[in-house]
Each structure stands twice: as C-alpha cells, then as structure tokens.
Symmetry: C2
Subunit: 204 residues, 2 copies
DNA sequence: TCCTCGATGTATCGGCTCGATACATCGCAA
DNA sequence: TTGCGATGTATCGAGCCGATACATCGAGGA
C-alpha cells in the first residue's frame, strides 16, 4: 500500500525521503499520523532494486550502485516501469483495496485514474463497510445483554461511523455516476479542481 | 495491545484460541475485522512463556511443558501475575494508549478499571484526536490550492470524523465527571449495565 | 459400515510496518 | 569556534497480517 503512495507522489515530482514523508502526511492526512522511517527507507530500497524508481539524474531504469550514499540526500524519481506498476496498483481490485488503509490511498490518487475504476473502488469500499455495519448490528442486537455498557457504547460508536461512511460513499457514487467528477480523468494533474460537489459541510 | 485484550478476556473466563478470536471480534467490533491467527497463537505462546497465562487445569503460574498439544484444543486461563499485568496495562498512560487501536482496547475494558483512570484515558484520547484535527485544518487551509479535489475531500471527511469523535469523547467525559458511570468500578463483572447515559442515538 | 465434507481448531512462514535509535550534515547565532 | 537544532539517511527488533497447511470431529448419505 505504501508502494502505491510513494509511486503516486513521485509521479508528480522527484523527491527525497524526508520530503516524501512530509508530502505523504499532507496527502493521506487522516490515514496515518506520519509514515515511519523504518517503513519508508526499506520500501524505497525495495522499489529501487525492482527498478520502479531510480535516482534523479540517471536514465530511466538504470540502477546506479555505489553512488547512492554520496553525501546528503538522495533524490528519487519514478521510472517507466514504475509508472506502469502505479497504474496497475491503482486499478487493482483485491480485498486489500477496500480496507481502511488501502481505500484511503486509492482515494487520495483518484485524480489519476478513470471514472470506471473510481466507481468500482467506491462500490467495493461501500460493500466492505456495509458488511462491517451488519456485523456490528448483529453484535448489538444479539449480544447486548452479555456486554457491559462501555463495550456496547464502543459498538454503537463504530456503527454510527459505518453508517456515516456509507452515506458519504453513496453521495460520492451518485456524483460519479452523474458525471460530476471534480478532476480530469487524464494522466497529468490539471491543477484545476473547480467545484467538487463536495459532500462535507462547510466549517464556520 | 493484543496482550491486553487477551488478558482481559481470559479474566472473564478461560478460553481456547478459536473462542478467543470470536470473543475478540464481538468485544472489539469496529477496531479489527478479525484477529489473525498469525498474531493470536504467537501471542498466546509469548504470554504463556512469561507466565501470564497457563493452561486450564494447572495450578496458578505453573507451566506444563509437553501437555500442550495432546489432542484438540488448548484452554488457557489467566494467572495471578497475568491479572497484575492486566491491571498495569489497563491503567498505563503511554502514547500508544491513545492511538486508534490502543484506545479502543482500553475503552472496551473500561468496566474493569476505576473512574480516575477512565477520565485520564478519555482526556488523553481527546487531546490526540484534537491534534489530528488541527493538523487536518492546517492542511485544508494552507494546501488546498495545491491538492486536487479528491484529496481535499478525503481531508474533509477525516476532519469531520475527528470533530465527531471529539464531541463523543466530551459527552463521555461529562458523564464520567458527573458520576453517571454505567458500570461498577469494582473488579468482578456486575452484569447489570442499567442506563448508560449513552451518547448514541437509538436506532429504529 | 464406511466415506466424504464442512466446521472447528492449532500452528507456521514470509513480509510489511512500527517505534526507537544512531549518526552525519548544514545553517546560524552566541 | 563552538554548539545546537533542523534536516536527512539508515538499521534493528518486534508485532501483526494474510496465506497456508494440517489435524480432528460430527453429521449425513451410499
């Protein structure tokens, strides 16, 4: 999942590790407080080894062995294979696409995919959250006399969050279906969000 | 975190692995879809090795070496040290106490701790969520022209969830302070939740 | 009687991720 | 010049997950 996020950011601009970490925080906001270095650097190394990213300044796909740790920071850029892999990951339909982390990352890069894929992912996520919701309803209905009040309150709060997310997803799906998509479906970032048909209330 | 959850459940009754998994699901509901076996069994082994749990039928604290894998299931029970450790973990105030998973588990076992601890944990969690909320507000206010509409929508949805959780926590804190605590603060489960002063709306 | 099948149940493996930690460099101010 | 905080790369141990293997048990049918 982190692979996808890194490839997505490097698709927008070359970056070094530290920068990547900060951009990741503003792009994914809610999903993870801040990405850990113990995750970031091994992932970068993995991506470089498999040829999906390279150091800025080298030809596409080339791997530069000892130059890596010259002095100071190392700037990475995405390679051609990296772009392919990114598109592939972004459009995939596995179960991990629909859990909290997976969906969040996919959603954050929705501007880089097409409407059909967006719809598929939104609907998959909705199904997932609905399942969770049903599970919680079952527990509340069937085990409420066996659980103490705090546990029950936790379930209710979870149920509330599920119901709210389903409503949010449904608004997004409706917008998507009616063509009110906020971004160009093409590859390059348009930088012109315009009206999004936002579903959140404005804050005072 | 899982340690705490397992000790908590075994405090209520002896159980074997599979059962533990199911009870965990109904107790933690929202927090984790279902606990993985790759997590559960190593954790059980770890707990047994450190003497916090033992196999049912053995004296408190004794460790039985080869009996483990006789045939069929292995029933575990908590030991005296395990109970101590549980109380310790439940009342602890580290940073991991306030993240999503940590807070959830602590909250699920609120009925087994005292009011002062509950209040401390609720307030710590509130602070944590408020920080996240401020971070999101910053991003939305300062980087909104740099982010595409989908990313922005993700931030708004996250912000909304934060604000809602803060309100929920504040209701719980108010209830707690005014002594409207739904459960007996004592050790044994009272099994009499009564009116909880619940903050969630009733469902139809 | 025997045989299969699904539910129950224990266990391990590889891989991702985290938190803590170490260390090196740079710019700036006392 | 010395020191110090921000920047930046990197590693380590351990927790947790998904997939997988395998063993047992009860029920139902040929």
């Amino acid at each position: 999942m982190l692979e996808l996020a890194i490839l997505g950011l490097l698709q927008e601009a070359p970056m070094h590790g530290y920068e990547l970490r900060k951009e990741l925080a503003t792009k994914l906001g809610t999903l993870r407080a801040a990405i850990s270095y113990g995750t970031l650097y091994p992932t970068l190394k993995r991506l470089q080894t498999s040829g999906l990213i390279g150091e800025a300044g080298t030809a596409d796909g080339e791997i530069v062995p000892p130059l890596t740790s010259r002095r100071g920071r190392v700037v990475y850029k995405i390679t051609a294979e990296g772009k392919e892999r990114f598109a592939e990951l972004l459009a995939q339909a596995g179960p991990e696409t629909y859990d909290d982390a997976g969906f969040g990352v996919h959603f954050a890069f929705f501007a880089r995919t097409d409407q059909a894929t967006r719809l598929r992912i939104l609907e998959g996520r909705r199904r997932r959250v609905e399942e969770r919701r049903e599970g919680l309803r079952d527990v509340i209905a069937r085990a409420s006399d066996r659980l103490d009040a705090y546990t029950l309150e936790l379930q209710r709060h979870g149920l509330d969050a599920c119901e709210r997310e389903v409503r949010w997803l449904e608004e997004l799906i409706t917008n998507e279906r009616s063509g009110r998509t906020p971004c160009s479906p093409a590859d390059p970032a348009t930088g012109d969000p315009r009206n999004t048909g936002s579903t959140s209330k404005d804050r005072p």
